[in-house]
């Protein structure tokens, strides 16, 4: 039996004998991706638990389990973990690492040692972020946005969180840089930009955002630290500084950051839809270019977070208009996916179920975003549960659902095993129902005036909070069930061949399952489009030397 990447690896330093050290020092992009996944999902469950604690507290008005200050720390912890530790690095760090080099026929990323370093930088950031739970005067209570001047005045340990966010930002920049160079330099011969799989396009657009937006928030956090400890006056109104400047600088990064989260997720969607419709994707170029244009327009819309913060009316109108514009390339993608399904030979495997479920949840998330892009509506809905519901429909129901879709799609590739399809589908339905019961009532509660981040509320809102609570119970049950199935499958699932889904892209043409250490033994010459199907069968076939034989 030939060796896979689980049996051997290259290391950053030396040639350690022990398996443990081989994992710690590995520079293999597939192993690094798996380590990211393990750490991220651990933090994901911590943040889910924190959120559940808040839901529990909100089941009835008044204080039950935790006090108001703890509640503030809880939503900050939830936000910091979910944003900086989980969803921002998320899909690029996991699947960008594991799958992207395979898709373009590369042996690894351009800078494998930098990739290893980046992973440990990420771990350092995680440790510092979580350490403030025990060090100093407790975890930050500012919300994950660290708005000045409160973040400058609070006695909690904000500095750790700021430093951690800065380090995680550096890790994000280096990941983006590595992927950009990889995609520019290491594509297999013949693979032009318009022959790349669409997931690679998603990663490419994301990498540009990581590179161009993150330095700004990085330096903003440094300035906030300088302000907090030396009082340089830049954000503190007591010294003539302007706290709204902090919001501008923060959102110049953090709004493109939500496109940084969603673009690779859209990439996963664009892989799954043609593979399970057995049909060439409709409008390949428009999907590829809409990723790039979302990345571009995404820079020009940050002001829509500041409608209520004090901004010139003309600026509000311009930002509102530009925000609507983002919906155009997003809409193009959705219509392209629907057109791909039309007359396709649709196979409702688990990844496809997740993708189709996301079409519903993200459509709600995206369109509710368009409503609050309107200045007048937003003045009413800003900082209410409506915005929270919108955000979670877009991020959880969009990015994380597609992350799960990708997880099921590439599970056989990464592990060489197959999970129980019937049970995995049940897990999907439980999560999908729980998700909607959890978040949809918040649209109504928010519309009626329930503010976000409140630890107490008026009795008339109780019914919505109770619905949400039971939704959360169903949702978490589904999550646990889903991960249980996948872990069981990895431990004792049935081995599968290299291409269980009959998919067309290069990562499904590996010599072994799971792939060997240096990926394709022979690099193919790419003179074909990524999703060529004919009568429901892949067109392009290779012999064992990766030479086309069709």
């Amino acid at each position: 039996m030939s060796k896979t990447y689980f049996d051997e690896t290259h290391c950053a330093i030396g040639h350690p004998k022990s398996t443990f050290m081989q994992w710690m020092l590995t520079i293999d992009h597939k192993r690094i991706g798996i380590m990211y996944a393990v750490v991220m999902f651990t933090f994901f469950f911590i943040a889910v638990a924190t959120a559940f604690l808040m839901r529990l507290e909100l089941y009835a008005p008044g204080a039950q389990f935790i006090d108001g200050d703890t509640f503030n720390q809880a939503f900050t912890l939830h936000g910091v973990i979910m944003i900086f530790l989980f969803i921002v690095p998320g899909i690029p760090a996991i699947f960008g690492n594991i799958v992207m080099p395979l898709m373009i026929g590369a042996k690894d990323v351009s800078f494998p040692r930098l990739n290893w370093f980046t992973f440990w930088l990420y771990i350092l950031g995680c440790i510092i972020a979580v350490a403030s739970l025990w060090v100093g005067n407790g975890f930050a209570d500012t919300g994950w946005t660290f708005y000045a001047p409160y973040s400058l005045n609070t006695g909690t340990n904000v500095i750790f969180t700021l430093v951690a966010a800065f380090i995680l930002g550096m890790a994000s920049i280096l990941t983006g840089l590595n992927f950009l160079v990889t995609i520019h330099r290491l594509r297999a011969p013949g693979m032009t930009f318009f022959k790349m799989p669409l997931f690679v396009w998603g990663i490419y657009s994301t990498a540009w955002i990581q590179l161009l937006a993150t330095p700004v928030v990085g330096i903003t956090l440094v300035l906030a630290i300088m302000e907090k400890y030396f009082g340089i006056g830049i954000f503190d109104p007591a010294k003539g500084g302007d706290p709204v400047l902090f919001e501008h600088l923060f959102w110049i990064y953090s709004h493109p950051a939500v496109y940084l989260m969603i673009l690779p997720a859209f990439g996963i969607m664009s892989e799954i839809i043609p593979a399970f419709s057995r049909r060439e994707i409709f409008g390949y170029r428009t999907i590829a270019l809409s990723s790039a244009s979302i990345a571009g327009i995404g820079y020009l819309v940050w002001g829509h977070h500041l409608y209520t913060s004090g901004m010139a009316d003309i600026a509000k109108v311009v930002f509102s208009f530009l925000t609507f514009f983002v919906a155009v390339p997003t809409g193009i993608k959705f219509y392209d996916w629907m057109a791909t399904l039309y007359k396709g030979k649709i196979i409702l495997a688990t990844p496809m179920l997740w993708a189709l479920g996301t079409v519903i949840t993200f459509a709600i998330g995206g369109l509710s975003g368009v409503t609050i892009a309107m200045v007048g509506v937003d003045i009413h809905l800003q900082d209410t549960y409506y915005t929270i519901a919108h955000f979670h429909y877009a991020m959880l129901g969009g990015v994380v659902f597609l992350l799960f879709a990708g997880m099921h799609y590439w599970f056989p590739l990464v592990t060489g095993k197959m999970y129980n399809e019937a049970k995995a589908k049940i897990a999907f339905y439980i999560i999908f129902v729980g998700f909607n019961v959890l978040w949809f009532p918040m649209f109504i509660a928010g519309y009626l005036g329930m503010p976000r981040r409140y630890f107490d509320y008026l009795p008339e809102f109780q019914i919505y909070h109770q619905f949400s609570f039971w939704g959360a119970v169903i949702f978490i049950t589904g999550l646990v069930f889903m991960f249980y199935i996948l872990i069981q499958a990895w431990r004792k699932g049935e081995a599968v061949g290299v291409n269980p889904w009959n998919a067309t892209t290069l990562e499904w043409h590996m010599p072994t399952s799971p792939p060997p250490l240096e990926n394709h033994t022979k690099v193919p010459y790419v003179d074909f489009n990524p999703y060529e199907y004919h009568h429901g069968q892949p067109v392009v076939k290779f012999d064992e030397n990766m030479k086309r034989i069709d």
Partner: protein, 231 residues
């Protein structure tokens, strides 16, 4: 990086051979990566310059008064030093390209000496300012004290120490990686055939001096026309 790396060949349907680019021997990839990294540095300093410009419009007069109190002789000397160090760095790279390893090492040493001189002068400048009561965390730069400076001046000095501090940190890093470069040259890992590390460090040093070329006029020169300036 193994120098005996042999690129793989991909064969198309007509039997034509195509070279596969590997990560092991990718000079252009290394250059591209470093240029992208340089771009993030520009964005980082760019954001600070933007904030500074915004406050300059709000506190115009205070900025000029604060600027006029900075020591333009020391600042100017440092500017000249950095310009020279960029020259020595560039000459070193040219020498390396043309096979003169010894000359290249000499030029790198010259750059290290100039960079150290820059930091020493900066240190004198900061300590003089400290003795005048102008430094991060001192009373004059906090609001609400008897000898507090006006808002605009607090901001100006706060940003001055932050930005020159971050710039100085880059100089320090530069000295560190130049010493590492010398070690790599001595070990034969950087040579006239494989000088990409030297190239990228020279690029880094160019950026560090370029940032100073913007810092100097923004802080030292805007108040130069004001009478009553200390120097």
């Amino acid at each position: 990086m193994s120098h005996e790396y042999v690129p793989e060949i991909a064969v198309d349907r007509e039997g034509k051979e195509h070279k596969v680019q590997g990560w092991q021997d990718d000079i252009y990839g290394a250059k591209l990566g470093f240029w992208l990294f340089m771009f993030t540095e520009v964005l980082m300093f760019g954001a600070m310059f933007m904030a500074l410009t915004y406050y300059y419009t709000l506190h115009h007069d205070d900025f000029l008064i604060a600027s006029s109190s900075l020591n333009r002789v020391l600042g100017g000397t440092n500017t000249v030093i950095l310009l020279f160090s960029a020259l020595t760095m560039g000459l070193g790279l040219l020498k390396m390209k043309h096979g003169d390893v010894k000359g290249a090492k000499l030029m790198i040493w010259a750059t290290i000496v100039l960079a150290t001189a820059f930091l020493v002068i900066k240190g004198f400048e900061w300590s003089a300012e400290y003795h005048h009561g102008v430094f991060l965390g001192l009373d004059a730069l906090q609001a609400g004290n008897a000898d507090s400076k006006p808002f605009g001046q607090i901001l100006f000095f706060g940003m001055y120490f932050t930005m020159t501090g971050i710039h100085g940190f880059h100089i320090l890093i530069g000295i560190g990686i130049m010493l590492w470069l010398l070690k790599r040259i001595n070990a034969g890992k950087v040579s006239p055939e494989h000088y990409i590390l030297h190239f990228n460090i020279a690029l880094y040093w160019d950026l560090v001096h370029l940032i100073w070329v913007f810092v100097f006029p923004y802080y030292y020169m805007i108040g130069a026309g004001l009478t009553g300036g200390a120097h």
